[in-house]
């Protein structure tokens, strides 16, 4: 994975010094909270329900054991001994003090980590496919491109006071494992006439008005990409709405002027920007790509012993095929039944660091589904890895099953929330605790958001749950039929909302309808798409 050179290190070190100065000036009263807020947001620092919350960046979800151990250390030293992995592949700490923040960032900088632009009206963490470098279906590893974009977007002087946040995802396969079409800009790397380039989608997003990004350009060459993105961002910075924060994302601009007009404006701006010479030479992408060379694979192809039935179940559910013979992709579930989705204790984080170092060429990934991946595990090591995970309560064999819930922190933690999301996730997982029942239901992506900002990606859930405030009481709306994969779709609200127990019952009824009507190996979402809402509505409300 990427290693900083002196320049990269100097940039994060300078940022620490700058933010420390800004914090000191805030505490001394030289700047108001209103003036300080965008500055702290651009360093990932929120003022949340209980304390400050710090969102540390994990660029395109990739990190090594040394960095993972630092995250555990931060949790122990400055927080309450745990962290929360997010739907943008980052990690959040919920109990941070402002007076510690600069020290935390200084410690993070010693292992090439930061909290740069993980919030604010600027370009956020570039996300990517959690199986990058390991998946057989990728055209290339998307992460060098993500790293190129990370550097281009970091401290971008023109695009740090955008109308609203800006999220970019990069994938390199036709299977979309990063919800790419639901980003402000989504890039799918493709080959054309032997050359690598990006298919550019602009204007996706969730929140109040979910939209699927239309294709704006079918192919942008590598050495045009930064100029092209600069043009995309400049048009947005100039013409994105600033009158209403709920209509300020680029998806609204594209919806209002139309994709064709946006494409035309970008093309015009691109023709101009291209003359400025801001694109690095291909040698820079090559330099970065060298850090992402395949690991020194050395394991012969050996199927693991399936004698232990629990191990076999985990193998079948959580372990995915690898492009390299003899290897496998391990998914570590952070969704124990009844637990808090995406949370890990510092001890668990340390265990995962150790396993990465021992069994995965020292590399881990964070997924946008709030799980962790060990991307390069030799099949001969799977059993030992599983045993260690089991001992650390990290071996739930529920990847993509109904209890593998994506849930935002919700009203338990977040000052934006209208309702709690975690208790709903816990109740649903507990209702379906029987693993045979879960496996019978099969792939069922359930996503819960505690408010319309949709950080739980509920629009993209096969089953989505949205928490709302109904006259001061928590209420939950149910949506069906969403997907963040390549079969991308926005879920539809099925009817009036429910209270907490009511929504759990409704989910259960929906799964019963699915089981009654499914054909062949249809998933829940396939059956719903085939039979429509009526049978489900009848069972739930009838």
């Amino acid at each position: 994975m990427y290693k900083y050179d002196n320049y990269d290190q100097a940039m994060v070190d300078a940022r620490v010094a700058e933010f420390r100065d800004q914090i000191n000036r805030r505490i001394a009263g030289e700047i108001t909270e209103d003036q300080f807020k965008p500055l702290r947001l651009m360093n990932g620092l929120y003022l949340q329900l209980h304390a400050y919350m710090l969102r540390v960046a994990i660029p395109y979800g990739t990190l090594d054991s040394r960095q993972m151990r630092m995250l555990a250390h931060i949790a122990r030293k400055y927080d309450r001994d745990y962290g929360h992995f997010t739907t943008r592949q980052n990690i959040q700490y919920n109990w941070i003090k402002l007076e510690d923040c600069a020290d935390i960032l200084e410690e993070l900088a010693t292992v090439e980590m930061h909290a740069i632009q993980t919030s604010g009206n600027c370009i956020r963490n570039i996300s990517s496919d959690q199986y990058a470098g390991a998946a057989a279906d990728e055209v290339t590893d998307p992460r060098p491109w993500a790293e190129l974009l990370r550097q281009w977007s970091t401290f971008h002087p023109e695009f740090s006071y955008l109308p609203r946040k800006f999220k970019i995802a990069v994938i390199a396969s036709s299977e979309d494992r990063a919800a790419m079409r639901l980003h402000d800009i989504g890039l799918e790397l493709v080959r054309k006439d032997g050359e690598l380039g990006a298919r550019v989608f602009v204007g996706g997003g969730m929140g109040r008005t979910p939209m699927i990004a239309p294709e704006i350009n079918p192919f942008v060459k590598a050495d045009d990409l930064l100029s092209y993105l600069e043009a995309c961002l400049r048009v947005y910075n100039r013409y994105g709405r600033r009158d209403n924060m709920y209509k300020a994302r680029i998806k609204i601009l594209i919806h209002e002027i139309g994709a064709d007009e946006y494409r035309r404006q970008v093309a015009e701006e691109f023709a101009h920007v291209k003359t400025l010479g801001i694109d690095p030479p291909l040698a820079e992408l090559e330099r970065i790509s060298a850090f992402f060379a395949p690991p020194a694979y050395d394991a012969a192809n050996a199927e693991p012993d399936r004698n232990d039935p629990d191990f076999a179940l985990w193998l079948d559910q959580n372990v995915k095929p690898h492009k390299q013979a003899g290897y496998a992709i391990v998914n570590i579930s952070l969704k124990p039944i009844g637990g808090i989705p995406g949370d890990a204790t510092s001890a668990q984080i340390d265990v995962m660091a150790d396993l990465a170092e021992k069994y995965s060429f020292d590399e881990l990934r964070v997924t946008h589904a709030q799980n962790i991946v060990l991307p390069y595990v030799a099949k001969r090591d799977l059993y030992a890895a599983w045993q260690a995970l089991r001992d650390a309560e990290l071996a739930d064999a529920n990847l993509d099953l109904i209890s593998d819930i994506i849930a935002c922190p919700g009203l338990d933690y977040c000052s934006l929330a209208n309702a709690r999301s975690i208790p709903v996730a816990q109740k649903i997982a507990t209702r379906f605790a029987d693993m045979d029942r879960q496996r019978d239901l099969g792939e069922l992506k359930l996503k819960i958001s505690g408010c319309i900002n949709a950080c739980g990606h509920h629009h993209a859930g096969h089953i989505g749950i949205l928490g709302v405030d109904k006259k001061g009481v928590e209420n939950y709306q149910l949506t069906f039929g969403g997907s963040g994969a390549e079969d991308v779709s926005i879920g539809k609200i099925i009817g009036p909302g429910f209270d907490e127990d009511g929504v759990v019952d409704a989910v259960e009824k929906a799964t019963e309808v699915y089981k009654a009507l499914r054909e062949g190996d249809e998933r829940f979402v396939d059956t719903y798409r085939r039979v429509g809402l009526e049978p489900f509505k009848e069972a739930i409300y009838g």
Partner: protein, 98 residues
């Protein structure tokens, strides 16, 4: 009754105006009546509180109970991690939130 609440600038902790200072315990919160805005501006200007606002609450025998569930969660802590709340040893503390 009206309560004045916010966060401590430096620690980030949730705080409640007691009448002559700030406490992390909602039981200590005072009714600011008509004077909330004036106190808010003075305290915020002096940086003794950050991001303050005024809320409705009902007086109870155990102290003020914020009208909105969000502020009750702020007052106690996350309902899903009772060990991290202000009353970790009290298993019924969360009932007060709902």
């Amino acid at each position: 009754m009206k309560l004045l609440t916010g966060n401590d600038l430096v620690s980030g902790a949730v705080t409640w105006w007691t009448g002559n200072g700030w406490s992390i315990h909602v039981e200590d919160a005072a009714d600011v009546g008509e004077h909330g805005e004036a106190i808010l501006h003075a305290e915020e200007g002096a940086r003794r509180v950050n991001a303050p606002y005024i809320i409705d609450a009902l007086p109870t025998e155990n102290g003020p109970r914020p009208a909105h569930i969000k502020d009750r969660i702020r007052a106690l802590g996350p309902t899903v991690r009772t060990d991290l709340t202000l009353k970790p040893a009290d298993p019924t503390a969360g009932d007060w939130i709902i």
